[in-house]
Symmetry: C2
């Protein structure tokens, strides 16, 4: 049995290109004691992967040149030498950009039978959904009646943040990078207001129009000029959940922060960076609630699906430029 794998060929400086990846074919091995052989069905493509391509120590170790890249994966157990998982089980875990992975059984989570499509466990029922919930409810402590703004609002995380905001009773506005995505925000995802940041003539004016009462809670996925525009519209005692800054990921040098941070003093603003894996209990709480919300139609979900592991590099390149709508997935089998 052959295994197609995508490796990191070189570290990018600035934007990621095809040259940073290499494809190879190997034989599929046998699981050792305590290990499981998984046939990978879907892999997740996420903005944080860009950070792992740099040789910088962070909360997760960097990808290594010449080695297989990692991703969140949903797969099916082919053979198991781990008690508690057996052939045919569906599992999720941090596996490789490849068709088959051998993994320590303790690092896999069994997916219970459910009506939701399997790939959703990489999105609305997985890490992006948990990230939205942790950031909105625990980090920013958004409350009923507050004004919420979400950047990259139609993405895997942003689309859930907005819908959770509506469930909490917030007024919700957001930005996205095409008129199609903006229509999706105010249509399917129930945003009260949205704008296309790429065609906006003044980001500050666009935020003011989208949030005439100002912003109590900013869920920040983008950084850069968009973040600055929203910062200027923050209300007293506002909170910013810093989830990511995709606008900065491909800069060769770290770009400056938003202008006018002195506003944070006068308006008593709190800005807090967070990592979803620090909050396992809140994640479990979300997964329980989300299954019900999805079944009730309160949480809607969109995916962009690429086919084949060899197309995973292009899927990441496109994602970093905003080419996806909703969650970016690669179907592997």
């Amino acid at each position: 049995m052959k295994n197609k794998q995508v490796c990191l060929a070189s570290r990018p400086s600035g934007w990621v290109t095809q040259e940073n990846f290499s494809l190879r074919e190997t034989d599929v091995g046998e699981p050792g004691s305590g290990e499981v052989l998984v046939r990978n069905l879907y892999m997740s493509v996420d903005p944080y992967m860009r950070g792992r391509m740099n040789d910088v120590k962070s909360y997760i170790p960097p990808f290594q040149v010449g080695e297989v890249l990692q991703a969140g994966v949903v797969g099916e157990v082919v053979s198991s030498r781990f008690d508690g998982l057996s052939e045919g089980d569906h599992v999720t875990g941090m596996l490789g950009w490849e068709n088959y992975s051998i993994a320590d059984g303790r690092l896999l989570r069994k997916i219970p039978g459910s009506e939701a499509p399997l790939s959703w466990h990489l999105g609305i029922l997985g890490m992006p959904g948990m990230t939205a919930y942790v950031g909105l409810t625990k980090i920013a402590a958004a409350k009923k009646g507050e004004q919420l703004f979400v950047s990259a609002a139609s993405g895997a995380v942003g689309s859930v943040v907005g819908q959770l905001g509506k469930i909490l009773g917030c007024r919700v506005a957001g930005s996205a990078g095409s008129d199609e995505k903006v229509a999706l925000l105010t249509g399917e995802f129930g945003y009260d207001a949205a704008f296309n940041y790429k065609t906006s003539e003044s980001l500050l004016q666009s935020v003011k129009e989208a949030c005439p009462k100002g912003v109590d809670v900013l869920f920040e996925n983008v950084g850069g000029e968009q973040m600055e525009a929203v910062l200027w519209c923050m209300r007293d005692f506002g909170r910013i959940a810093l989830c990511g800054m995709i606008a900065d990921y491909n800069a060769a040098e770290p770009p400056p922060g938003p202008r006018g941070m002195m506003l944070m003093v006068g308006r008593r603003i709190t800005m807090r960076g967070f990592i979803v894996t620090d909050h396992p209990e809140t994640c479990e709480e979300y997964v329980r609630k989300a299954a019900r919300w999805v079944a009730e139609g309160k949480l809607k979900y969109r995916e962009t699906i690429a086919e084949g592991v060899e197309n995973a590099p292009q899927a990441l390149i496109d994602l970093l430029k905003g080419g996806n709508t909703g969650k970016q997935i690669v179907q592997l089998a």
Copy 2:
């Protein structure tokens, strides 16, 4: 009886100059019902005054062109038509840059007899001391054994932050703008390490040397390049109490924030702006404790004192350039 007053002649653009002020002489009036006539003894000169010289709505209203500027003042009651204050009482409140003020008695606080010099109620026993305590204990929640960094560390607020940090059991480092001030930090104020940011060849290297274990808590008074250097040295779950950003106050345009704010995500950093007057109970707690710490010699204090209300403008101009050591006061009588 004649009253010398300093008025705002024009709003500064960039650095404050003498041309922004005008001096006038008027007759001292009589207090109306519920009012008190105060002979002003000392006035406080503070960085936040620069913000009030701009025509920008903030947590306190801007100074008005043509009107007397305001400051924290300690004075002596000359005559009172307010129950609860009588001739000879010492009071503190937000009064004018002038020799005599007439004020609503409800807005004055009587200073109980104490051994501390009267001017200290504008500094270590007043708002700057309270600001240090609120920021360090409530906003940043500094704990025993943590690494604390203070910018503008020899100033009215910074010098108290460092000493409170030592009382809490933190390791304390800071920066100041002259070798003399640095000597004061590691000498009189008990800092474990300090450097002169004006002669530093690399702020990042200076912070690393001053804080070899990194920084858990940053008490930020300065902003700009210094803040950026410390941000890069922050440890996981670090907290930044944003008290002020004196480096930005005289910029004609709001300057950009620190580079590399994506660090705040990976290291889960919280940055929080605050205003001392939002925390009256914590302030009262501080005043009780500080009186004891001062008496026990655990809190030391330095003042730079200018003479005469006509020299108050120069005192503010100097303060904004870092000319003072410790608390800047103007003696008015």
